[in-house]
Amino acid sequence: MDDTIVAISTSLGVGAISIIRVSGKDAINIVNKVFTKNLLNQESHTIHYGHIIENKQMIDEVLVTIMKSPKTFTTEDTVEINCHGGIAVTNKVLEILLNNGCRLAEPGEFTKRAYLNGRIDLIEADGIMDMINAKSEKALKLAVNTMNGSLSKKIKDLRDLISDILVNISVNIDYPEYDDTPKITNDIILPKIKEVENNIKNLIDESQNGKIIKEGIDTVIIGKPNVGKSSLLNALLEENKAIVTDIPGTTRDIVEGIISIDGIHLNIIDTAGIRKTEDIVESIGVEKSFEYIDKADLVIYLLNNNEALDKEDKEILDKIKDKNYIIGINKMDLDNNLDINLLEKEKIVKLSIKENKGLSDLKNKIKVMYNTSSIDLGDFTYISNAENVSTLKNCLNKVNDIKLGIERFLPIDMIEIDIKSLWNLLGKITGDTYQDELIDKMFSKFCLGK
């Protein structure tokens, strides 16, 4: 219990403010490292205004509460950070704290500490154990759903690459007399480690958390002329004070505007200037639509409640079924001619843009889709993402250690120590912690023994 733990202690996505709680002997030190104002010599139970920063960049405007041991919930030094920037930003702050030496709290760990430190009555012990049990089961279930399938696959591939190296080194160490097993040297390792490094960097970039914050989600709104594309875009944009119409220096498609929904950025891709061409009776055509769909992370397909599905609609629906998509049925104020049963129910949002109805449903759907506010899913989804990004950054540190060791011509078995911790870190993300995995692999791959 010597380490410092952190967790988001409010439900994500509901209120405008979320609270991050840090507890442990380094709590004040760690927050101080990422805060604009010096917190080290402040009185206990005081509140401070400032910014959370990373690499001199401002991440969020926050209020920080300092509470010193022992008059806190856990009896340890505790800091609470009130974040204002929405879910994605809160999550970014969490990640920064993890990078600076905090460990993500296990389910129920604050309460556990409070109990073990004598803060909570003995009678409550059973309740706490129940809570830990329940929370960890939920977390476990969610971990399975949460992990983006392709992320997990990529990490598993990386671990395989690394374990090939490790197993080969082990064989060289444990069976040095076998001259027909390949000898691993620093020269062989270096390119592989560089490959691992690039992959990890890409993963960090690709991870939802990183991407949502840094780049946003490329979104297209498609649909027939007059279905209400421009009205929808305008309605969404209208609520957003910060409209960026041109992003200098980017090479991607022209972005019509950026919409921010609780910290999730949607980059609306200009489908042949939807805002301008709305009045012109011109279909962008199925082929053109396909092109946009390919480019987008998220497709919003608008249909008219008043019109039945035609062949073209069906082609597009077929095309988008492998993407993240939402079907907006507009003009709910008109008579229904659309057979809803032909559509996937979970994807539907009913709208009447003219009457300003259904917009919040649409936004909620997007939030759920990107795992950021789903109350049912609990907070774990998002938190584990922050932890993953932080772990991946730790992995990069290990990669640097390995490269440094190779540069200094250290013996292979020294370098192996860092390679193994890299492998263990990656295993933490995928939950692969079976200890004898390498030994099993060694004996299945190499022919050894008397």
Binding site: Y115, L116, D179, R408, I412, L438, I439, G449, K450
Partner: protein, 621 residues
Amino acid sequence: MDYEIIVVGGGHAGCEASLASARKGHKTLLITGNIQNIADMPCNPSIGGSAKGIVVREIDALGGEMGRNADKSLLQIKMLNNAKGPAVQALRCQADKITYPKEMLKTLKNTKNLDIMEDLVKELIVENNKVKGVLLESGSKIYASCVILTTGTYMKADILVGSKRTRQGPHGEKPSNYLSDNLAQLGFKIIRLKTGTPQRIEKASINYTNLKLEPGDDKYYTFSFDNKIYYDKDKQVPCYLTYTTPKTHEIIKENLHKASMYGGLDDIKGIGPRYCPSIEDKVVRFSDKERHQLFLEPESIYYDDIYVQGFSTSMPHDIQEQMVHSLPGLETAKILKYAYAIEYDAIYPTQLKQSLETKKIENLFTAGQINGTSGYEEAACQGLMAGINASLKLEGKEPLILKRNEAYIGVLIDDLVTKGIRDPYRLLTSRAEYRLLLRSDNADLRLSEIGYKLGLLSEERYEKLNKKKMQIKNLYDYLKTTKITPKKETNDILEKIHTSPIKDGIKLYDLLKRPEVSIDKIKLFTPLDYDDEILEQVDINIKYEGYIKKAEEEAMKMLTYENKPIPEDIDYYKIHNLASEAKQKLTEVKPTSLGQALRISGVNPADISILSIYLKKEYHK
């Protein structure tokens, strides 16, 4: 009471157990089926190897016998992994199969408080779950406070050759037919394991002309920190290297069904070691490999047998003849002993405490192959620990439990009693998380203090240790405080040894940190009047300081959990919030600390959280 401690079995575990107990002043009886087979090496004629060589040094540092005995009987010796880092280097020797047992028997016979008896044990005498002695097959009873079982492969041993199963131990010895049934009756879970050994070939019938010579190192080494040399490094006996041929593989594939393990016998239950596969396993599982290495190792200078390392098989004799004759250099070789597989009973090791005392029967200890391990060194170190802990129990003292950051011995025992086994367990460097701390070169620094306090290590050795520690410190301090300045002659030397010249003064300590500067090079700047082993220690400590610190920090993290004890009387089924798998596993293993609990597969961190709250609630009111 006839004896304080009875040791059953005179193999490598039994020898160490009885010596430790007798040397600690306890009246000890060693019961063996055949005195001539004491400290026998029924398989390979070598001691040490990767990780195992470090264990031999640990045994020596704790006051055990194996290292000293190996030094007395070695035919050749090598430092493995010489070109790699210090943490993975280990000694391996070829030991004479006549000298080794002879020297060990001499030591046993010259040890005070130790009697040796020839007989087989039929049953344990147990009262109220406490062992009281043994019943011999000859019918008499012998009483003692503690019993240590080190039966090796002898419990219900079956020799398997082709389609033949014969109830006997190695060398046709009489097996122990009753003891494992008795253990099962007492409630122990008994498992069946299997291992094998290759042919022995007549030395004169081998044509060495085209075989690669495998000599010993051109340097003196000893396992024991006594550092007594018994051999001439220029007269070491060589090994030779040969390979299987396509013909060999063809013979094996054609006759596969005749091997005991491939249908020759249909009642094989034993699980063989993965790291010690038979040649037919290698050919089948690695069919794309064109050839397999085989080492021809001398067994003794007193007789003719050559051991064919890598060629163990359960094929019938006629096929073995064909196989051997297909090998280069062995075309006309004469087989003196055929290869065989052996099946035997063992007890599942999670039934043991960390002290190697069984959980079911008080004062009963087990060590060696009976616990599911394989290898002379693995057996010997368990024997030593069982002997020590049985003695400590008699003395009313806490058991000696080596932690995973203290010794390979600790890793081995913790693995056994915490994780159990699937196949016979062999030590590997990769099993040790803190390998960098568990080196061959520092085994004495790690463990001699413990050996001395136990009364197993001589006063002389203890003084030697303290002197060594002091010299290491002096040299370290000297390098840390002594600077060289950027004079011309200094930089000339630096350039000559291919390292960059200096502009400012630099401590010798910092110079030594440069990977290309060994401690010998430091002597170019200042005389260092120290023995090689002192120089080596300081070199390692300075050069790898960063890595060693990291390993120590990791170990400290583990120890915070290791130092949280779990009381023996805990009932996991009373903690209703624990996951049911955790309840079951924890009840089976009965971990003594939260650290050990964490290492049990199927117990997750949330279970540990719940457990720690329960412990506080129930035991620290």
